[in-house]
């Protein structure tokens, strides 16, 4: 690993000041992704700014929403009584990700910024537009089994690896950020980007901004949520396909529903058309299958990931069955 300066800060203002004066500085909290990338030489910041001592380590139920601070550890959030009571889908998704050891260190802010696990991004001898803009995409014509089926571009077909982000997308979370120009709130749908011509940018967060926390608006989904993750082994692997489902029932009729998919795109993939179709409908397997068909509109496979075109709708139907309790 290249050497670097290490600076501990104890205030948000100091952290932003460091980012403002040094373009090659990076924030570090859990370090579970960044330190790994630095070992591979994928990222080589000049300076690490340690934000572990900032006062963002709080979970608070507020009027109309749940606030989770950016340096709350994933394991802490997943086991928090308010998260389990108000937003169980988030807990389910986080527990499906990584391992106990990693979740004990990884933070909410860090997980939002988790970088892709595309092998060509990690292999510094391979071309990758995300790592070195303009160098090409190794995955496009390469071994692309793990890669995107939605929203990809000729520059990049990598996927966002986070489970947490899929649940937050289904739950319409809002990301709270702070920078030299003040505070702003970014809806999660606008936080992660599609690759387009600039896959080097994972998010719309400015280089000088820091994530202070996120809020999840209250909802009526808690009784019917499922996070179903399909992967190469039973645990501790990234998703081939994952589906987050949250349903609000009026008897057997779906009053409101949220659907999001992971392992399929450069950002967590919200399935709004399928949601619209299911709203007001009775929960039946036939309706679930029709919604899944709708959800797959516009999907495009590459040489090695065509299996996702079948696995994705099947996973979605299974997740809907589990969340609704509808059998057969």
């Amino acid at each position: 690993m290249n050497n670097f300066q290490f600076k501990r800060v104890s205030s948000q203002v100091a952290a932003i000041a460091e980012l403002s004066k040094d373009p090659a500085a990076k924030l570090v909290a859990g370090g579970t992704n960044l330190i790994d990338l630095m070992k591979y030489g994928v990222m080589a910041p000049d300076k690490l700014v340690d934000v572990n001592h900032l006062s963002f380590d709080v979970i608070k139920k507020e009027e109309g929403s749940l606030h989770i601070g950016s340096t709350v550890r994933n394991a802490v959030a997943a086991g928090n009584a308010d998260v389990l009571k108000y937003q169980p889908l988030l807990s389910q998704a986080m527990l499906a990700g990584a391992s106990a050891q990693l979740r004990n260190k990884a933070t909410m802010g860090g997980n939002l910024l988790q970088r892709t696990r595309c092998g060509y991004f990690y292999d510094i001898s391979a071309p990758c537009n995300k790592r070195v803009p303009g160098s090409g995409c190794g995955a496009l014509e390469g071994y692309n089994r793990m890669h995107a089926i939605f929203g990809a571009s000729n520059s990049c077909i990598a996927v966002n690896p986070s489970d947490m982000n899929v649940a937050l997308t289904a739950l319409d979370a809002v990301i709270l950020v702070s920078g030299p120009k003040g505070n702003r709130k970014i809806p999660i749908s606008e936080f992660h980007r599609l690759p387009g011509a600039h896959p080097e940018l994972d998010t719309t967060l400015d280089r000088k901004e820091i994530i202070t926390g996120l809020v999840i608006p209250d909802n009526n989904f808690a009784a019917h949520t499922t996070y179903l993750k399909v992967r190469d082994r039973t645990s501790y692997a990234f998703a081939l396909i994952s589906v987050a489902v949250a349903i609000d029932f009026d008897g057997t009729t779906i009053r409101d529903i949220r659907l999001a998919m992971g392992g399929v795109a450069h950002k967590p993939w919200r399935l709004k058309e399928a949601e619209q179709m299911l709203k007001g409908k009775v929960a039946t397997v036939e309706n679930f299958k029709m919604a899944a068909e709708l959800a797959m509109k516009g999907a495009k496979a590459y040489e090695h990931n065509a299996f996702k075109l079948k696995l994705a709708p099947n996973t979605m139907v299974q997740a809907l069955k589990t969340a609704s309790g509808v059998k057969a």
Binding site: Q5, Q12, D46, L176
Partner: protein, 211 residues
Amino acid sequence: MIENTTRDKEDKDMTGNSRRDFLKKSSVITAIALTPVAAVKASDLKLDERLSEAIEQMPLSIEINGQQHNLKVEPRTTLLDLLRERLKLTGTKKGCDQGQCGACTVHIDGVRSLSCLQLAVMNEGAKITTIEGLSDGNKLHPMQEAFIKHDGFQCGYCTPGQIMSAVACIHEGHANSELEIREFMSGNICRCGAYANIVNAIKEVKEGGAI
């Protein structure tokens, strides 16, 4: 809600901003001040390297297995390398060194974590427990006894990480069924495939209530 106005305190960063700047300036000063002969001599004595070594290190106060250490470390030193290379605590193993195998699992302030993905300097003031600190003198920890009894290993390389993780798994309350144990131990890979015996060892310690 967190507002920047309420939380700002005086920044008490430890290193200041100046180590690199100082190095750059000092090189210039060296170049000006020294005659070519003196500069060559300084180079022979590796003064530059010694200077940079002294400046590029950070103080670190850390407790490991109950013993206080006041050290100086490079920021890039991982907790794992500090334990193994510096303090010769080689019980903690380096498997993948990339956060994928769990062999380097230690307890940081009582919480199981991967020491390979932790910079040592991120653990200022922390209390670390490694496999060497688990036993009570010559008396093995119940989990160590159980691993021996149930043959919870073949080659033994992943074992320190497995045991540290297993102890934490019970403390966390995640050892209530075989399924739960398997899920919450999934971050510790065993190439020999001793999983069935590892699960039995954990079940026995959990049911015995010894920890």
